[in-house]
Symmetry: C2
C-alpha cells in the first residue's frame, strides 16, 4: 500500500524531477568531445543528492512569483557550484573520500586529473548559463546573480570556508569559530540559492530581501548542524557517504563542540529563527517554512 | 648605457605595471582571513609572466577606444582565469611541475589542497570582478563578457583542451588534431582576452568583431607553436619553467608533428595571417599588429 504523499513531498518530488531534466539539458552531452570529461561532469551532477539548494531557490522563487523556467536555470547554476565543490573536496589532497551519494567519487570512478577538470568546468558552466539565459527581467539583475554566486563560491565564501576547515583539522574550535567557518563553507552558497531564486521573480522590497537573507543564514547553519549530528548518528548506507568521518579525521563539528543533545537543540533553535525570519513575507513563504522543517528533521 | 626603448616596449611596460597594480588591488589582501589562501592567490597571480592576455586586451581596447580603467579590470579577469589554470595544471595529478615563472609552483610553496582552492577561488573572482565593475556601457555587454569568458574557460574551451591534452600524452596527433586541442586549451582564453578588451569600448561593427576574432585565432595558435619551439630550444633559466618537458612527457607538440624548421615556418605564417586579419581595423589596430610580432619573435 502506498503511503499518502503530503503536498510538500509532492512539491519536492516535482522540483527534483524538474531539476534532473534541466541539469541533463544544461550539461554538455556525454558524447560531445572530450567525451570523458563531459561524461564525468554528468556523473558528478546527475542522479544525486536531495537538491537542497535548488529546492531553496524554487521556494524563494515562489515568494517572488518567479517562473519555473527561470528558476530551474538559476538553481542549476547553484547546483553546479555545489557539485564542483563536492568533486574537489573528495579528492585525495582534500578530504580523500571514495563514496558520495552512494557511488564512487569522481576521482575513483575516473581519475584525479579528470576530477580536477570536472570541478573547474562545472564552475565555468554555472556562470555561463546565468549569462546565456534571460532568467531575470533586467540584465542588471543577472549581473547581480553572477556577483552573488561568484562571491559565495570564492575565497570569502565557500573556497575560504574550505581553507579554514583544512586548517582547523585536529584543532578545537569555539562555537563562534565554527559558525564563522560554516557561514562561508556551506552558508554562502545556500544564501546564494535563496537570493538567486528570489531574483528570478518580481523585485522584492529591501525588507523582504533582508527577511530572506536572515532566513538563509539560519537555514545554512541549521543544515550544517544537522549534517554534524547525522554524521555522528547515521549509517554510511543511509547517508550515501562515509559516516563518522569528520570525527575520525579530527575535524571540529557542532557535536564535538557542544555534545549531541546541545547540537540537536541548536538545530531546533535555528529552525525557529528561520521561521521567524519569514514573517514579513506572509503566505508566499510557505514552501520556505516547510523547507526549514525538512532540513532540520531529515534523517539523511 | 641603456638601450633605447621602442615605443612598443614602453607601451608594453606601461600595461604590465598597470596590471600589476590592478591585480594587487583586485585580489583580496594577503592579511585577510583565511590568510594562507589569500597569500597563495597573490603568490599565484602577482609578479608573474609576460601578461600576454592583458596586453591583447589592452591592444584590442585601443581599437575600440576603451578607457584603461575598464581594460585593467577586464584584463585582470582573463589573467585570473589564466593564473588559475596554471596552478591546477602544475599539480601532481596533472603536469606535476615544480617551477613556474622562476618560482616554486603553488602546491610546492604551499600545499596541494591550498593550490586546489587557489585555482577555484581565482576562477570565481574573475567572474565577480566583471559583475562588480561597470566596464562596458551596457549591462548586456558585461553579461556577454561573462558568457565569453565562461565559455572560453569551460569544457568546450580551456578545461576541455586540458582533457584532450591529458589523453594525447604518448600519442601522435596530426596537425589538425593538434590545432583542435590548442584552439581550446590556449586559444579560447586568448580569444576572450581580445574580445573582452574590445567590449570595454565603443560598439564595434560585426565586420570589425569578425576581424578581431580571426586575429585572435591566428595569434592563439601562433602563441602555442612558438611555445613548442621554445620548449625545445630554450633553457629552463630563460623560460622560468622546466624546459624540454613536453617532449620528455611524451606530449605531442608542433615540433614533434612537423619538425623544428616547419614549426618555425608555421609560426611565421600565422603571424602573417594575424596581420592580414587586422586590415579592416586600420590604424586603430597598430598595437595588435605589434603584439603579433612580439608573440612570434619572443625568445621566452
Amino acid at each position: 500500500m502506498k503511503i499518502a504523499e503530503t503536498d510538500f513531498q509532492a512539491w519536492m518530488g516535482g522540483v527534483q524531477s524538474r531539476m534532473e531534466r534541466a541539469l541533463g539539458r544544461l550539461l554538455p552531452p556525454a558524447q560531445l568531445p572530450p567525451a570523458r570529461l563531459h561524461e564525468a561532469m554528468r556523473y558528478a551532477t546527475l542522479e544525486g543528492g536531495k537538491r537542497v539548494r535548488p529546492l531553496l531557490a524554487f521556494a524563494a522563487g515562489e515568494a517572488s512569483g518567479a517562473a519555473p523556467e527561470r528558476l530551474e536555470i538559476a538553481a542549476a547554476a547553484v547546483e553546479m557550484i555545489h557539485a564542483y565543490s563536492l568533486v574537489h573536496d573528495d579528492m585525495p589532497c582534500m578530504d580523500d573520500d571514495v563514496l558520495r551519494r552512494g557511488k564512487p567519487t569522481v576521482h575513483v570512478q575516473y581519475d584525479q586529473a579528470t576530477a580536477l577538470l570536472v570541478g573547474d568546468a562545472l564552475q565555468s558552466l554555472a556562470f555561463q548559463i546565468i549569462s546565456e539565459n534571460k532568467i531575470a527581467d533586467r540584465p542588471e539583475d543577472r549581473l547581480e546573480m553572477v556577483r552573488l554566486l561568484a562571491a559565495a563560491a570564492g575565497s570569502r565564501g565557500m573556497a575560504g570556508g574550505q581553507q579554514i576547515d583544512l586548517e582547523a583539522t585536529g584543532k578545537t574550535l569555539t562555537v563562534p569559530e565554527l559558525e564563522a567557518m560554516h557561514i562561508r563553507k556551506t552558508g554562502a552558497v545556500i544564501r546564494a540559492a535563496v537570493l538567486l531564486g528570489a531574483y528570478c521573480g518580481k523585485n522584492l522590497s529591501e525588507k523582504e530581501l533582508k527577511a530572506l537573507d536572515r532566513y538563509a543564514k539560519a537555514i545554512g547553519l541549521a543544515f550544517q548542524v544537522v549534517d554534524d549530528v547525522l554524521d555522528e548518528d547515521a549509517s554510511t548506507a543511509t547517508l550515501g557517504k562515509t559516516a563518522g568521518k569528520d570525527r575520525k579525521q579530527g575535524k571540529p563539528t557542532y557535536v564535538s563542540a557542544l555534545g549531541l543533545p546541545a547540537a540537536r537543540h541548536l538545530a531546533q533553535e535555528l529552525r525557529e529563527q528561520a521561521h521567524a525570519a519569514l514573517a514579513p513575507l506572509g503566505d508566499a513563504a510557505k514552501r520556505l517554512g516547510e523547507l526549514a522543517d525538512f532540513v532540520v528533521l531529515r534523517k539523511f
